[in-house]
Subunit: 495 residues, 2 copies
């Protein structure tokens, strides 16, 4: 058996362990009774240990060396490169650093849950300092190996090929027009009347509506399901994708848009090529590209006027509100495109959202590069919120720099993916419009097959066989360009 | 670290992998969409491989040797013995035999699902022959090691310490009075009027009733849940027990008694001592003892008149049938104690059930010992059904010897556990009555705490720290004695 084949078999074994971990993780969030948590935590940790052992088995050194000589095909080369990347991430760090990081991150994240509620910055900062120290140390190892600076080395985990230089350009450009666009949009919307639908909207009716719209969006129920969890997510495995939402009986739109968002993630997963199943090259390209699919579904498609017209009757029917003016397509559209600056990222609309991401990016980059320390965060946060959104978080760290789980859990370099995803999505939707004449009309008629076929060909079926730049070039004719995102916001919000 | 400690750590690792397998297995039965099946099968197989590797790691040889010298405490000795037993079961068989068996059993079981529907004995027999050949070979390895005959060596997997000699005595005794008791009971019941409750009984109402009765029976919802699956079972892990049922909208009693049965299994699991969690000595004693708990709940408790009186009002309320005479306690009691001989084991009442088990036991023992071959099964089955229940299965193998999954999947030596469980349950209930004066009245009043406390002390908390004989002796004053089962049936069915 060739070394290349042996590597593929090892990675398929790994993916089977990760299958078990994904299902147990989903179960923990969606099904497990509280009392099972300790045992589950131990079981998941054991699966991590086994995964790490498979990925760092000593024989892999030789296999990787030999495999390079064995292959010439472009797909094989991409396949080998993605395996090697995963292997290097697992082997570059000394074991005691991995363990220290795991302990520090867990401690910080666990304490943060209470500290955030108490607006206890001092307590949080004590733990966060150590998390940052270890993240810098980790980043140092990755950076040295890849010849990158530290922050770029961390961002590369989530967004391979992306650099802070590129992000600076993209985000810098956005910063030039975003505050003005927010002002204008709010001004325009001031005079518009929007009727808030009045609940209650029973959970079971909301769930049925969600399932209905998932069907419309092509979710494959033979390979996935919808459930409920406190924090919505898309989990499971490509063969069996588990999406979750949460229901608010006073506001059905939140769960519905959440379901649509996760359905975007799910269709990407469900349509990854089965021929590459279990191999890193068969996985989604990056966090940003993944987010581009959820935002394509949620922002580009679901909050558009044609799609709102398509589903408004289904929504009204689900709750028996066919005569209620709040359920008209125009009103629902106004409702789903309202711009309102606020403190909380996860509650932000698509116009103000990039401001939340940009400020986090700017702070975390400096944190990892060592330009600032954790004690500088609250003031910087306040300053940037003032400048981007005109809001002060002075003394309000609970709704400021303590609101997210990412840093508490040691995930630095992830935040840019959200806005990169929004930009990819806008650029992809624009390309789809070029490729599919009459797209808006088709969407209004519920004729979505062509759009999904295009996405499948352009993104889903490609998995990680191309670099992100090349993926975007083949799909849209150029690498990521923030112009399309700006154009999208202008057309939707300044019209 | 002592060898004994290292062994315990290794077995705890193993139990964490088995935790993941248990949850993924539950999910496969209760949650997974059809299309996830192949990937799930591969993931579960990988977890088996990992478990086997942990259990057969070469260093265990030395650890077991050294550990014997390190311990003197009785609990430690039992702990070591149960670990050693699991290790020997995993290491005794040559790898190629394990693989051949796994393939033959899967093939036979898979084909059986269709062959049974088609009453295709010839097709089934072709595969079963190979399954039996390999089971005999496996049994040979175990038998040689343990100094037992082949069948006893297989039965010992499920029922440690049990022997065909003991089972022959127990079942032989039952055979002397069972056919007569069935005749008498049917005769007595002939003249009784039983009203069958008329459906539909909506699934959600049935589920709520099941949850209600689970609560009454002390199921700990912080450490477990109730779901739906085609074949009801009790799965998960002691910290998080997953029971399932299936609902028939025309017959609520079937799901309700199923839930009560699985709750018996669940309470045993939920009350295994946490101090021994993850160790073989902390697991349930045997399949028969496990079944004794489910049958204690279902047969001894739930089908009794006092308990029926206790729950009849809850049942009537669940379906809003407070005025329906079918829902009177007396009618429900008649309904739940009806004796009716039939072909299908899983549909049998508690009086005819032992006949189904005894005939299977007699046939499978001869099969494994080599006294008969698979082609003799249909005639023997027919003969024994005629003699025990007066029913002919000639030409009806689909409802005869092809009805069960056990042999198709290579599980020989399991069947006795069902009736051993029924006998343990009767003996335990009798002992509980001796220990708890006024038990029937307490049950009627819903005062079940004392009974569960007694079961916990006698059985649940003991896990595998005692042999089954010793467990029964400490709980009831004597080892298993079929007298109590006979007495139970006589009191309930001939009164």
């Amino acid at each position: 058996m060739s070394a290349f084949t042996k590597l593929q078999q090892q990675f398929k074994r790994l993916s089977r362990i990760q299958h078990a971990a994904a299902i147990c993780g989903w179960d923990q969030a969606a099904m497990m009774p509280e009392g099972g948590n300790n045992a589950r935590g131990e079981a998941l940790a054991e699966l991590s240990v086994i995964s790490h052992q498979l990925l760092t088995a000593p024989e892999l050194d030789d296999w990787f060396e030999e495999a390079h000589e064995e292959i010439t095909d472009a797909l094989d080369i991409a396949n080998l490169a993605t395996m090697k990347r995963a292997w290097q991430h697992a082997t570059l760090l000394p074991q005691d650093l991995v363990e220290a990081t795991s302990i520090a991150n867990s401690r910080c994240e666990h304490a943060w849950r209470q500290q955030r509620k108490n607006n206890d910055w001092q307590g949080y900062n004590t733990n966060l300092k150590e998390v940052v120290r270890l993240a810098r140390e980790q980043a140092g190892y990755f950076a040295e190996h890849a010849g990158l600076n530290r922050y770029d080395a961390l961002m590369d985990i989530y967004e391979p090929g992306m650099s802070s230089h590129k992000v600076d350009n993209l985000f810098g450009e956005i910063k030039t027009w975003l505050p003005g666009l927010i002002d204008e949009a709010e001004e325009i919307q001031k005079t518009r009347q929007v009727i808030t639908p009045q609940g209650p909207f029973p959970t079971e009716q909301q769930r049925q509506l969600g399932l209905n719209i998932m069907g419309l969006l092509g979710f494959d129920f033979q390979h996935g399901r919808l459930d409920t969890s406190t924090h919505p997510f898309c989990g499971g495995v490509p063969e069996d994708v588990r999406i979750t939402t949460r229901y608010d009986e006073q506001n059905f739109m939140s769960a519905l848009l959440g379901v649509i968002h996760e359905t975007g993630h799910a269709r990407y997963e469900q349509n990854l090529p089965r021929t590459l199943a279990g191999l890193p090259v068969g996985q989604a390209r990056s966090m940003g590209v993944h987010e581009s699919q959820s935002l394509f579904f949620e922002m580009q498609l679901a909050r558009s006027l044609p799609f709102t017209r398509l589903i408004a009757p289904r929504i009204a029917e689900a709750f028996q509100r066919q005569q209620d003016p709040a359920f008209s397509a125009d009103n629902l559209y106004q409702l789903n495109t309202r711009v309102k600056r606020g403190f909380i990222r996860v509650d932000a609309d698509e116009v103000t959202y990039p401001a939340h991401v940009i400020l986090r990016y700017e702070i975390e980059r400096e944190l990892i590069e060592g330009g600032i320390d954790t004690e500088h965060i609250p003031d910087l946060w306040n300053e940037k919120m003032e400048s981007l959104l005109g809001l002060s978080t002075a003394g309000k760290n609970d709704i400021g720099c303590m609101q997210d789980i990412h840093w508490a859990g040691g995930a630095f370099g992830y935040f840019p993916s959200y806005t990169l995803g929004a930009m990819y999505a806008a650029q992809l939707f624009n390309a789809a419009q070029q490729h599919l004449p009459g797209l808006e009309e088709k969407i209004g008629n519920g004729d979505l097959g062509g759009l999904f076929e295009w996405l499948n060909k352009a993104i889903w079926s490609k998995a990680s066989t191309l670099s992100t730049d090349e993926l975007m070039r083949q799909a849209t004719g150029e690498a990521l360009n923030s112009h399309y995102f700006k154009q999208h916001l202008q057309q939707r919000y300044l019209a």
